[in-house]
Amino acid sequence: MTAHNSNDSLEQLLSYNTRLVDDDFTHRVQAQLARHRGRRRRILTAGGICSAAVAGVLLVVNGHKIGGSIMQAVNQSPYLVTLGIVALCAVTLWSWQKRV
């Protein structure tokens, strides 16, 4: 057997002969993906609720001071505060865009 022939037969032997496509596999991937997305949604929702709750409590307990210090920061360096808000929005948008 020549080297060329032996290479050909090796290629034939190693080729993926059976067609491996079945709906069962596809469905399993879809189901796992749905679980993953559900879990992520729950985590995001829980995170949002926690943040809102903490912010609410802080506002109720120490509303005047927080409001005062925010206004003070805005008066002292309005550009920096605006830049901070824009950066925060950009990061939030970017993380949402990443989706998963």
């Binding site: 090796l10 032997l13 190693l14 496509v21 596999f25 596809t26 991937v29 993906l33 989706r99």
Partner: protein
Amino acid sequence: MNDKDLIARVLTRDDQHAFTMLVRTHQHGIRHFLRRLTAGDHAWADDLAQEVFIRAYQKLSSYRADASFSTWLHSIAYRYFLNQQRKGYRQHEVSGLELLEQTAAESSAEKELFVAQLMRHLSLPERTCLTLSISAGLSHQDIVSVTELPLGTVKSHITRGKAKLAKVINASATQQEVAP
């Protein structure tokens, strides 16, 4: 619709149907590749393949079209396999009987069994490079991007792998001739 269109649909509209189409198109190559890497452990290979598609979905926004989508999937599969193997999640040697049971339903069961046994004679890098080159039909450059090995090393793994397999095949042919 080609891969690029489907990927664009997933990214812009979060189109689940488009992603399902991608899974349908590429499961053949990825599942076969992982079956070769696991040397015939079909159940583990399918579990890995499932996770590969989930990871691909998660990282889809980072996919750059400089390599084909198939090559990109193969690199995820290879890295995930290495990672799982390193963690020792499953290091179970598939017996000949198990292999036979797994492949019995397939038309070319005998061949699959033989190939799975052959893979055990190769080191993991040889198995990977040879499978990607011969079975998946990837170019040497694509194999470099999947395995992150230098081009020379990839070529030598392929050459050495072929030589080893030829030796094993010849030895088994000689045994069959000698046997009554």
